[in-house]
Amino acid sequence: MDVQFIDELAANGRTPLHDALPWAKIAASAALLAASIAARTPSAAAAAAAAVVMFASASRNQLRHAVAMALYPVFFAGLFALGWIRSNPLFALTVVIRAFSAGLVAATLITTTPFVDVFAAISRVMPAIVSDALFMAYRSFFILVDELQDLLRAVRLRGGAGRSLTEQLRTYGQVLGVVILHSADMTERMYRVMIVRGYSQRIESAREWPPPRPLDYLLIAYAMTVLGLVLALR
């Protein structure tokens, strides 16, 4: 899970899916996810997967990154599917295909839509504390990643984390301890900034979305059609 890389793909990509409105992509993704999960037979699951791949291929050369991310849930689905292979191989296959489709939907959404936009949509249905924490956690993550990388570089320059695994783990524990101490200071700074800027119990997203275009309606219509077909196949 490389959040930095995902963020880069989402923020700097120039594909038709990047151009679509976040809420349209979220709605289409929700319908495709439902279609992937609702598929009961291997053929229905494969049809849903093909539809998801078509959706994801609109992200052009980013498709391979999304597919790579989707293989992670496939691995775990494969572990569970192993138990069904002898008794019900078709069901085992369905489970693996479903996991791939669902993973690809999530991966495509997040590699073509900046986290901030996804959070802005989520924040409409979440309590203020949760949505504000989502925004700030995301920002804090990048600050802390830089700090951790600097500290790990310093450890390496001074001879490494230790010879034995125990020694290394204790060193990493202390490195994380330093990061946690700094994060406490960061929390204090954030608090002061929020007070100075007049935090009004909720961080309002300043993002203004343009009116929907035909592409947005097309995405939703496509996903709803796929969902309808999968449900009809049940």
Partner: protein, 251 residues
């Protein structure tokens, strides 16, 4: 354990809904507990702790393929209310990166929340019993992870995604569907035979699954315990107030 690496499409709908429902309920309880606290202080703390958990999860342990979670430490620092919301934030972000299913966010948050709560509870009691914070934090971590892994196994058994249980259910369904016994007596015998099979195969399979999970997990718990113990010792030396069980800022 911290999160179930179960993809979408495996957990039955009633469990998904129960997980989401219980998570919503516990979020409401946590929000109520935090109601009188300064939100401008609470939100950054939840955010940085969530970011730290995500950061720790991105640190692979060489050769072992295990990643840290720091949920116990989050409970020790933030307490159960802030910690539960941090667990939800982390699981939402993880689900969006295809690391754990989107529909499993509720169940994953419950597992993470359990670790946060027990981490806070055990640390509060063990910190006074042990002179060295390392020992208290390490023991708390191992006990919490043992319990959360057991909870995870409970979910696996309950949802029947354990291969052995599923195998039995399919066999049972096929028996019931295709056997079409000549009379009630024969039918009863088939049912009895299937029930017996459930007792042996299903139970045996869960036991085998549990044995694998506990033995593989034990190594992970040891690693997490060592790291959390080292962090606790380091923080106690530098900023003892951060891990003080008597601190009034916890909810």
């Amino acid at each position: 354990m911290s999160h179930l690496h179960i993809p979408d499409g495996l957990i039955p709908l009633p469990w998904i809904l129960a997980g989401i429902g219980l998570t919503v309920l516990l979020v409401c309880v946590a929000l109520r507990a935090l109601k009188r606290r300064d939100r401008a202080r609470v939100v950054p703390r939840i955010a940085t702790l969530s970011a730290l958990m995500l950061l720790a999860m991105g640190l692979p342990i060489p050769l072992l393929g295990y990643h840290l979670n720091l949920t116990v430490l989050t409970g020790m620092i933030a307490g159960p209310a802030e910690g539960f919301i941090a667990a939800l934030v982390v699981n939402l972000i993880l689900a969006l990166t295809a690391h754990g299913g989107i529909t499993v966010v509720g169940l994953n948050t419950l597992i993470g929340g359990l670790e946060v709560f027990l981490g806070w509870l055990l640390w509060s009691s063990l910190r006074r019993a042990f002179r060295r914070p390392f020992a208290a934090a390490a023991i708390a971590t191992v006990v919490v992870l043992l319990i959360s892994t057991t909870a995870m196994l409970g979910i696996v058994a309950g949802t029947a995604i354990n291969p052995g249980f599923a195998l039995h259910r399919h066999n049972h369904a096929e028996l019931a569907e295709h056997a079409q016994p000549a009379d009630d007596h024969e039918h009863a015998e088939l049912e009895e035979s299937a029930d017996h099979e459930h007792d042996t195969d299903g139970h045996g399979s869960l036991k085998a699954f549990a044995a694998i999970v506990y033995s593989a997990g034990a190594l992970g718990w040891a690693i997490e315990a060592l790291v959390v113990g080292s962090i606790a010792e380091f923080i106690t030396k530098s900023r003892p107030d951060m891990l003080d069980p008597g601190s009034g800022r916890r909810a």
